[in-house]
Structure formats: structure tokens, C-alpha cells
Amino acid sequence: MEGFLYIGLGVLVVASYLCLYRIGRGPTPPDRTVAIDILGVILVGFCALLSLLTKKDFYMSVAIAWALLSFIGTVALAKYLEGKGLDE
């Protein structure tokens, strides 16, 4: 079980590096924003696997907070791309 979880963490790290490639190279600002959103969702899965590996449940609380904050950040960036203020 532990070996499998370590392999899973490795797979998620590779996926995060693919997202980072898109954040670095993305030709337009929306490309980078998409990659940031996806990176946040992947890190939620990473926290869940860490919680299983270490048998500590506060990692799952981190995952919940991360999911909500990532959503708020993405919506704010989308509004910024649209060229509007946050209250419109």
C-alpha cells in the first residue's frame, strides 16, 4: 500500500510539472490561468494521498481549504481577463 501511494505521489508530481510547463510557455494569459486552475485541483488530490500515507486527517482539511481558495482565485482571474472589476 505504501509503495503504491509513493508511486501515486510521483505521478501527481509529473502532472504538476506538465502544468508548470504550460504556465511558463503559455502564449496567452488565459493559457496560464487555465494551467493555474488545473494545478490547484491536482494539489487537492496530492493532499488526499498525503493524508492516506501519513494517516493524519488534517491534510484533508488542507485539501478542502485549497479547493475553495483555488476556486475563488480562478474566478477572480477570469473576471480580470474579462476586463471588469470584481463587483460587476
Binding site: 509529473v14 488530490g45 492516506l52 486527517d57
Partner: protein, 113 residues
């Protein structure tokens, strides 16, 4: 037994996550990247969370995993929708193979009326 079911769910979720990120790197423009990455990664992360709930059993970890899955399932498509709208409004053009643009048609109609 439930441990193996949970690990199988986590394995399927990891494969979906990885392929979503490969789509994010390989596809040609913002909208296709958004579509591939959001669908695959949302499903993959939800499967990882359900799998860790099954592995951990009833208790604080499993309950938090289910709540977190619900949040991801609701917020990720909403964020993708807002992003697609923001990308379109910020002036990113659709790539040449695209022939139908119903959003532009609807906007033209509403301006005429």
C-alpha cells in the same frame, strides 16, 4: 478488501489526472486545453478522493474526503465556465478548423434586436 477497491479507484484517478495534464500540454488552443484538462482532472481528483474515503473507512478522514469531493465537483466546472468566458471576452480567437461560433452569433442577434 475495501483497501484494494480504494486503491483501484485511486489508480484510475491518477491515470485520468496524468492524461488531463498531457492534454493541457499537447492541444493547440485555450478552449481545447480547457476542455481536456478540466474534464479529465475533475473526474480524476474526484476518483482519488472517493478512493481515499474507501481506504480510510468511516471517520474524520473519510467524511472530509467526501465533502472535498463535493466541493471539487461543484467548483471546478464553474471556474472553467468563467475562464472560457473570460478568455473569449479578452479576445482569444478560435483556431481555423472551428467553423461554428454560436456565442458570437447570439451576441450579434442581441445587438440587432
Amino acid at each position: 478488501m475495501s483497501e484494494y477497491i480504494g486503491l483501484a479507484l485511486i489508480a484510475v484517478g491518477l491515470v485520468f489526472d496524468l492524461f488531463g495534464c498531457v492534454g493541457l500540454v499537447r492541444l493547440p488552443d485555450v478552449y481545447t486545453r480547457l476542455q481536456a484538462a478540466t474534464k479529465c482532472v475533475t473526474l480524476g481528483t474526484c476518483l482519488i478522493l472517493v478512493g481515499s474515503c474507501v481506504c480510510a473507512g468511516l471517520g474524520p478522514t473519510g467524511a472530509k474526503a467526501l465533502v472535498c469531493m463535493l466541493f471539487v465537483l461543484v467548483t471546478s466546472p464553474t471556474a472553467a465556465h468563467a475562464l472560457a468566458r473570460g478568455a473569449y471576452r479578452s479576445g482569444v480567437k478560435l483556431e481555423p478548423p472551428v467553423v461554428v461560433d454560436k456565442f458570437a452569433d447570439a451576441q450579434a442577434e442581441s445587438e440587432e434586436a
